[in-house]
Symmetry: C2
Subunit: 349 residues, 2 copies
Amino acid sequence: MSECGSSNPVLVEILRGALVESSHTGAIAVADARGRLMLALGDVKHPVYPRSAVKAMQGLPLLESGAADAFALSEAELAVACASHSGDRVHLDTVGSLLAKAGLDDSYLACGAHWPVSEAATRELLRAGQRPRAIHNNCSGKHAGMLATAKHLGLDPRGYEQPDHPVQLMIARIISEICGNALDRARMGIDGCSVPTFALPLAALARGFARLGSGEGLPFERTLAARRLLHACFAEPLHVAGEGRFDTIVLRTLAPSCFTNGGAEGVHCASLPELGLGIALKIDDGAKRAAELVMSELLAALLPEAQHMLADQLGGEMQNWKGIVVGRVAPSEALRRAVAPLMTPSILS
Amino acid sequence: MSECGSSNPVLVEILRGALVESSHTGAIAVADARGRLMLALGDVKHPVYPRSAVKAMQGLPLLESGAADAFALSEAELAVACASHSGDRVHLDTVGSLLAKAGLDDSYLACGAHWPVSEAATRELLRAGQRPRAIHNNCSGKHAGMLATAKHLGLDPRGYEQPDHPVQLMIARIISEICGNALDRARMGIDGCSVPTFALPLAALARGFARLGSGEGLPFERTLAARRLLHACFAEPLHVAGEGRFDTIVLRTLAPSCFTNGGAEGVHCASLPELGLGIALKIDDGAKRAAELVMSELLAALLPEAQHMLADQLGGEMQNWKGIVVGRVAPSEALRRAVAPLMTPSILS
């Protein structure tokens, strides 16, 4: 047998016919606000770029700086500031209004352009003979929030996305304080939308998400800011992602028990405020299909109502182009065994 | 450390900043027509669904049955019968002409519809307010070949995609003879386009591809059929995939030294006729970005001219939405070490 390729276990299997066609390995951490691990599967100490999964943390300066109040931002605008949005009309309008309230416009966005995540929005652009602009980028709401924060603080908004801009330094400090880990320039990468992304262990991210949701372990003002931000997301689930998207479905059906945010390269995080728990997971190869199935399995174990609400996500049926069922996306034996103890009441004492 | 997740080694790493952000494990077999393994990395005995990677083998009945001659098929039509095409105008026209020569039309196609692989073709459909039809399916050329074969043999073309249809039985027999492995119904799945797909070890697929390219180990008529089919693909590289697609680039730049065909879920196969070698690889999680990089590395080692011709594929630079270089898709240490011996002349004696 060849040298072991991965220290992380297989979490998800793609079944076609009677065989496993493909598989995904990864790691999962479920922690409380003190960092006590309820579940540690795979290497939860290995540094992981959280990418978009920490957007809710990146959005805190918008509140903590006073910008959200100064500009009288709506809940929709706060939600879109934490979003990986689908680029539909509703998202573009809200990002636009956020920028306008800050006396800015979408020409200030440094995130770069890409076709909207939403097929319908892409079709609309194509029918109009247009190409996407920066505002269509799924991160444009986050960037609008960063710009509004800079404007409110009297800072030059240009260059807001650079690692040394005060807004980015503020975000980095907040993430490190919430997660209880120093952020290291040696572990800094540039995100798809050009802002910095700092790698952190899944154990630290899970702790951070536990604190974000319950406020435990956070200074009082941060607890309030986090509560307002999450409440806005619970009130405006469509703004956090879009129709048919995983995070919107979770927010619509499981709020206020659960807040989730997915990130590129197979990262997904969640906050379960009533349980005082945080979840952080990473699929080694970056596959979203696996990250979302794993998150569904975890939520179904921790929240009784999720079993029913996320039935489609848990079902994992694969259909081909004729609608014939050809296989399944299924939790592995290792994942099922790891998740089972989460269902027992004793875990919460 | 957790229980080992994968017996296959890491082949490809995604680097962002100074860290490995994601990684892909998999297995590779490089063999000659006798099945002697030049390279066996990871588990090459494990059954793998080859998916579209065996389209050239699935296309052989079109020639062996006499259908290609009876219908006077052009090289473009033969090439599209082995294609995972991009759905551009040129592909649709050629699939249409193939069907017409067989006295059929695209209403007979059982592959199901999907948006064209080509962005430009998708945009054209959207601008015209149209939805894709079966002919836009990347497998429609393969299906057209199967239909033409059925028609020529006087068989009912309806149900040609079913496992028990004589055309599918013929294909299964041919694949098993070429690869030297019995095809097992227990290892049969249904492909995305609804035809059967039989799982085979990478070692057997590599052997099959060696034979397909050089004719060694094949009955004379099959050698001729394979030669005509590959020659058609060498003559019409655009028809085998499409602009900017990996297999088209390889065929344009490396023919007649190399024929490649990729399949879904991270499978890629190649035939190197002059070297008498075949390659078969599978990325465990199904990622195309990894399969194409691994194939590029193998070709660059085996064919001197590939180092230059596939420079873009080997370079692996990752740019974000602003065009900033944020990372790399790179071969792992294990892959580099495995591939190095392939470059020595002694391998070919």
